[in-house]
Symmetry: C2
């Protein structure tokens, strides 16, 4: 399986603290070593860094660390390949243009037997089930809405389409268009919202940061990730079939999910 990391904020935020903890799992503390990718939204544009080396040791991981890009929305993924070779085209996050926006998607799990007809609006470039699922979702959205719908309509449609895809396997994902971030849990996904009063936070490798030194009272930063990254924060564990829609660091829509996470798939 792979691991996911997402950040949605109301102020441009440096994800280095979380990403540095996250990427240790790709080769140091865990085995998600089949490449990594990270996408930073900057306005409507996106910077994406991908490598087929383990994130923990990748020179591009160091670039991300050193360059300290501030962003409202970031999606990262460390891969443990189950389907598709270890190469750039199979490296998450995947990106497509929908209604004149960049949409970025990363997936954890395996969904089998998704059919994509040759005339589908979006075609997979690589050979992963994940990109195939994203293309299915993107094409179905474009079919349902010729122009960008409201956020509520969009969330409902993403849920509807995802429930169909989720019948084919394990479908944890994080999705963003640079304005909002949607996460779906099948087996394992957690989130935490950091806001005033900010305090010291201890990462799992005991690196500590005092967020009160870097924030204002108005700041809100939500981090979504497969497995909690810090030891002294109250991470919320999502349930199977649960969805959250974050904007400006706030949870705007939610479907709690009815089933407990299916540990067998973790």
């Amino acid at each position: 399986m792979c691991q996911l990391l997402g950040m949605n904020c109301n102020t441009p935020t440096d994800i280095s603290f979380s990403f540095e903890g996250f990427r240790r799992r790709a080769g140091v503390t865990d085995k998600h070593s089949d490449g990594f990718g990270i996408a930073f939204f900057e306005g409507k544009g996106v910077r994406i860094f991908r490598d087929n080396q383990p994130a923990a040791f990748s020179p591009l991981g160091d670039v991300v660390k050193n360059y300290r890009i501030k962003s409202f929305n970031v999606i990262a993924h460390i891969r443990q390949a189950t389907q598709g070779a270890v190469n750039i085209e199979n490296t998450h996050p995947f990106i497509r243009e929908i209604w004149g926006e960049n949409w970025v998607f990363a997936h954890n799990g395996t969904v089998e037997d998704l059919e994509i007809c040759p005339n589908n609006h979006y075609q997979p470039i690589g050979t992963t089930d994940s990109e195939r699922a994203f293309c299915c979702m993107a094409a179905e959205l474009k079919k349902r809405f010729s122009e960008k719908p409201t956020e509520r309509e969009l969330f409902n449609a993403v849920v509807d389409i995802s429930e169909e895809i989720a019948t084919k396997g394990v479908f944890n994902f994080i999705l963003s268009n640079g304005e909002w971030m949607i996460a779906r849990c099948a087996t394992k996904l957690h989130y935490v919202t950091r806001k005033h009063p900010f305090s010291k936070v201890f990462r799992e490798d005991d690196v500590v940061i005092d967020f009160s030194q870097y924030t204002t009272e108005q700041d809100k930063v939500t981090i979504i990730t497969t497995q909690p990254l810090t030891k002294n924060e109250e991470w919320i564990e999502m349930k199977n079939g649960g969805y959250v829609f974050f904007k400006d660091g706030d949870k705007v829509f939610e479907i709690v999910g009815t089933l407990p996470p299916c540990k067998a798939h973790v």
Copy 2:
């Protein structure tokens, strides 16, 4: 105006020597300082680095220099903004998925009044005329061919569509799907093919490289660029309305062009 750089080869090649000369024009020897972008194909995947800082001084420019990615197809662009703000979404090269392939496009010039209907298959994300032109071309190709056509059919269609777009302004471009590279000249574009016997080449800033030290007899590397980058090679100057289609470093199709480059637009 902006400047373009493309490389098409029959062996994975490090573009550093050419890119280092090229990026000096973005802030050192010339004024193309409104951001830069470079796309490296790696199989069907692409790594794209973009920055809104001048290429000559950008930390991401240094990353490209130091990381020495080898690729069969590379497209780079340094920008002097004429339309659209200086930001990531307006930074070339632009990318779209067509028939399950990454297509990468960079443009030099300005094309006015291109109409894109809201239901167009591809919508611009930023506000440049260049991305708009690329979306027009991509949508028209997808309309003409529901599946990937032959290279000859594709070249003919790209020429046909480009001639229409070119009636709206100045349309120099480089385009690649990772297998081939198409270049069109309106006002200024040059190319050179490096092959056996390789020799010493002097860049315009007097940096010298002896390609015979880094190559085999079979290697072929074509460089396409707005303005020649070296002093002792025979660059071929393209004509207005000229097209070349390179694959594995070889010119496969060509339309020579009938008009001399229109210097007034340079």
